[in-house]
Amino acid sequence: MGFDTAYEAISEESDSGHRWAFGTGFTDPLAGVDTTVPAGVDGADLAAYCLMLGDDALIMSHRLQQWLARAPELEEETALANVALDLLGQARLLLTRAGRADGSGRTEDDYAFDRTEREFRNVRMAEVTDVDFAGLIARLLVFSTWRLALLGRLRESADPVLAAVAAQGVNELTYHRDYAAGWTIRLGDGTDYSRQRMQAGLAAVAPLVDELFVPSVVEQRLAGVAVNPEDLRPECDAVLAQVLAAARLDWPQVYGLSGVSGKAGRDGVHTEAMGYLLAELQSVARALPEATW
């Protein structure tokens, strides 16, 4: 077609309308964004931060993908797939950014498929399995509320790439949160049984919440570039309280899941579920390292 990039090919406006069924007007979130590392920012730290946010999205996306062909309704399945694809898109941009920032030139695939469990920096909430649909909804509600608050602030980041990724992600996460909140209210304010399952879902996710708001060393060093997760707590608590009130649910009073010697997801210390997840995610790429698809 004579276009340099896929985005150019499908963003071409055409009056004939014959391509209407496929949609037009796509935009590249990084179009015109300066991708050099800003002066005064440590490349290694920036890469580590990109991995944290990228791994959150990648691992959560994979868990969502595991719901495909198991979702209760076809329509819900597509909704979950859309959420997973949004997060995967964010992960691709962030992992690519990490390879640029640390100067290693590693690609998104290198990060996704060639790292060991201890090298992943996602919060543990992203990796745990869901007992049922209500459990998934509870996890998605907390995760998307937290990530939306985070990306909302990240739009002001001193790193233009992070700011651009965040600007796009805010729209996506707003929908994810809306979707999860809608189901939380339906199940919580539904039958006695659905309410019981929803409450159990919240109880499963609650021990993983405190970890979301603990700043890592990297985030502390990257003031102005990274968001301090401590600042997100009031907004997240307020949103969750509002949703739970509408759903007639109570926030479970549970202890946070402790780490190992004070270390948790951001330090590469994960739960048992992570090993199984990575085995599935990486097995093909490791068995056929030269394969392309």
């Binding site: 406006e13 009056d15 309308g17 209407w20 069924a21 496929f22 949609g23 037009t24 007007g25 796509f26 198991r70 209760p72 309704e73 076809l74 329509e75 597509t78 909704a79 859309n82 399995t129 869901d130 007992v131 049922d132 649909f133 209500a134 929908y175 809306d178 979707y179 809608g182 339906r186 199940l187 539904g190 039958t191 049984y193 659905s194 399952r197």
Partner: protein
Amino acid sequence: MSSSDMSRDMSTTGMGAGSDVSGEPRSNWPLFEVFLRSKRGLNHVHVGSLHAADATMALHHARDLYTRRNEGVSIWVVKAADITASSPDEKDPFFAPSGDKVYRHPTFYEIPQSVPHI
């Protein structure tokens, strides 16, 4: 998670009758018809249908099913049961009488040269 857990779960969350065993369709959600207006489009066009528990959920499902490739900027959903449609049995009385009235087209007029786009 086992599939039996899943079906038990869904049977009590308004997500269907849970009658997998009987072979009955699980979903008892009503059918909605979806109309989409494209970016440069003039009017909403019917694009398909879906199941949802209520209109709000239908709107979300329509967004997830029919606008994934940037097809639309506005969505209408309407319960299929609320649409009054002409019946195929009445096709002839309804439509045949207009089939031979060619004079209803404005083709018997001289169009002045100075009037474009007709």
